[in-house]
């Protein structure tokens, strides 16, 4: 009798499973345009949950579609990212989907910001530079880096054309939920494709290979932090151990990658409207990375002479100068971000245009500048150094700014009598 009963039970279990499999969950059924609640920045002081629309969703379970596809703890195989998609979990409340956990929330937030990035690409003249959907790695585990560098960071990987987020273990807003960071990383993909790919193809430049572009420098031990030593011994630098062609190569590398970081920060501000967007996720970087130009800092940036001194010092004192140069990229880049933000504020004020409109105009000019820079790097020879004031010179050529406060501001960065006059040799 028991045997008969167990047979019956087995049959019923099979029937139950078959009946169950026919039912799709609300998440499985969702596709196309989906309403999702995500945290977005309301202003420079607060984040709020807001219902937004995600367009072109093909699978809400994987939050994949027209604009993004996700990989959880991915790997890299030559030029492509590999791995499984994370499983997103949502509840449905009326017409809205609410993420049930932090990773599902990150997926929805990143998708939302990337679809906005696609729109931004279009309006600033960068349409077609990127391929969509973008590949995103979550909780990425980095090999061959110290444990302290395996968390609380994000980077764009040019070789796989993907945006990677490392595990976030701090108490603040996770990097992957910070729209400014996503815009920053997205810009790296533009810079990589417009400028760096060209530079990499110029064998004379010998710039770098397989470079990662992270949201902040990978941590190094304080005891060997070169920036501290550099500042202390600024006036008494030792002679470089490398030959001149290598020094020139490193200088160009520092300038290009520094510019990459600075312009990415500007992009973050254009998108988030927050000069301290990094503070939400990495407060320790606030002072170094704020885009607010403090009094007396206008006109100051790392010129070629300073970059050369630093490169010579680091290469003479450290076996692996790349690590220390990476920390210097932000010192080179941040003044550019502050310059562009301040210029936007001046132009908005003087021309009476909304700041949002001026920001787009400035972003368009940045893309134009990248194309000019790409042409320059394409034809450069191994002994040529990129001028560290190239961006400032480019903006000084705007004839609309002649005899304005904005022009006066630009002229603090370049040696020219007035704006709108090309003084290139």
């Amino acid at each position: 009798m028991t045997v008969q009963f167990l047979r019956l039970l087995k049959g019923l279990v099979v029937i139950s499973l078959v009946a169950s499999c026919g039912q799709k969950s609300d998440v499985d059924k969702a596709e196309g345009t989906i309403q999702v609640d995500v945290p977005v920045q309301k202003n420079s002081n607060s984040f709020v949950f807001k219902t937004v629309q995600l367009f072109g969703i093909e699978s809400l379970k994987e939050v994949s579609g027209k604009f993004a596809r996700f990989f959880y703890t991915p790997g890299a195989e030559e030029t492509r990212i590999i791995g499984d998609a994370p499983k997103a979990r949502f509840i449905k409340s009326g017409d809205r989907f609410i993420p049930m956990d932090a990773i599902s929330n990150q997926m929805a937030v990143i998708y939302y910001h990337l679809q906005n990035m696609a729109q931004l690409d279009d309006v600033v003249g960068a349409a077609g530079v990127n391929h969509w959907p973008r590949s995103i790695g979550l909780d990425t585990i980095l090999a061959n880096v110290p444990a302290s560098s395996q968390k609380n960071n994000a980077f764009y990987d040019g070789s796989t054309d993907s945006m990677m987020f490392l595990p976030y273990t701090a108490d603040e807003l996770p990097i992957a939920a910070n729209g400014g960071v996503i815009a920053h990383e997205h810009f790296h993909s533009l810079f990589y494709k417009i400028v760096l790919k060209v530079a990499l193809n110029n064998k004379d430049l010998d710039l770098f290979s397989n470079q990662l572009f992270s949201i902040h420098n990978f941590k190094i031990n304080n005891s060997e932090k070169p920036t501290v030593i550099f500042r202390d011994e600024k006036l008494n630098l030792p002679l470089g151990a490398l030959d001149n062609s290598k020094i020139v190569s490193l200088m160009n590398r520092v300038y290009l990658l520094g510019l990459n970081e600075g312009l990415a920060d500007f992009w973050a501000w254009v998108y988030s409207d927050d000069a301290n967007y990094i503070n939400w996720s990495i407060p320790s970087e606030k002072t170094n990375r704020t885009l607010e130009l403090s009094a007396g800092e206008d006109g100051k940036y790392r010129n070629n002479k300073e970059i050369e001194s630093y490169v010579r010092f680091v290469s003479a004192n450290y076996g692996n100068p790349n690590k220390y140069l990476a920390a210097y990229y932000y010192e080179v880049g941040t003044p550019h971000a502050r310059f562009l933000r301040q210029l936007s504020l001046f132009v908005s004020e003087q021309q009476g245009k909304p700041l949002s409109e001026v920001k787009i105009q400035m972003a368009q000019k940045v893309i134009q500048f990248l194309k000019v820079l790409a042409r320059q790097t394409q034809s450069m020879k191994s002994n040529q150094v990129l001028p560290a004031d190239a961006l400032f010179q480019f903006f000084s050529e705007d004839s609309n700014l002649v005899d304005t406060k904005a022009c006066d501001f630009i002229l603090k960065y370049v040696k020219k009598a007035n704006c709108g006059i090309s003084e290139k040799p």
């Binding site: 609300d26 959880y72 509840i91 409340s93 049930m100 956990d101 990773i103 929330n105 807003l173």
Partner: protein, 192 residues
């Protein structure tokens, strides 16, 4: 379809029931100490056993068992600045049919019983989210839960009771949709 299945299951098992020794027709068992494990998706992207808090009470009439239970599971993810707390609560009723009983007439006065059981109910998911200290609550649209299982019961000294059940639960929006679960219960009961 699924309700038809449950009814079919419950009624078709009646034919296999064994007669038990004479005792009062009715009893009530309640279980304040319950450990329930479900094998399901978690917030850290793993599929693993999760620990649910449960309370259940059964009314037994002859070989039929009528139960009610509340099961709850909480999980938290995120950071202090952006936090997600999800609370899933099941309200289930069950109907079981006892198909095996073995009595021990010693001083312990123990009985070992087995029953097949069907479950039906509703689950409610509440997501509590906070960003920068501002918390909002969101309720999911209610979802039906149903399932089948088998329960092994040990009764000792008339009052004490221990049960172990295995079950398969189905809910359209749970992840995965079919969730295996195992429950250990310790409680007390009295016949009347």
């Amino acid at each position: 379809m699924r309700y038809l299945f449950l009814l079919t299951f419950l009624f078709s098992t009646i034919g296999f029931a064994q007669k038990s020794k004479s005792e009062p027709d009715s009893r009530i068992d309640f279980f304040p100490l319950v450990i329930q494990m479900r094998y399901q998706d978690k917030s850290d992207q793993t599929r693993d056993f999760t620990l649910w808090n449960s309370f259940s009470i059964n009314y037994i009439y002859q070989v039929f068992n009528f139960g009610a239970e509340v099961n709850q599971y909480k999980e938290e993810s995120g950071t202090p600045a952006l936090n997600f707390e999800t609370k899933t609560t099941d309200y289930l009723v069950s109907i079981g049919y006892q198909f095996l009983r073995i009595d021990d007439a010693s001083k312990v006065k123990a009985s070992f019983l087995m029953r097949a059981q069907g479950y039906l109910g509703q689950n409610q998911v509440l997501v509590s989210r906070s960003v920068n200290g501002m918390t909002t609550l969101e309720n999911a649209d209610p979802d039906f839960v149903y399932g089948i299982g088998a329960v092994a019961t040990g009764r000792f000294f008339k009052f004490f009771i221990a049960e172990m059940d295995v079950r398969i639960l189905f809910a359209k929006n749970s992840s995965p949709q079919i969730i295996p679960a195992q429950t250990l219960r310790i409680g007390a009961g009295f016949a009347f």
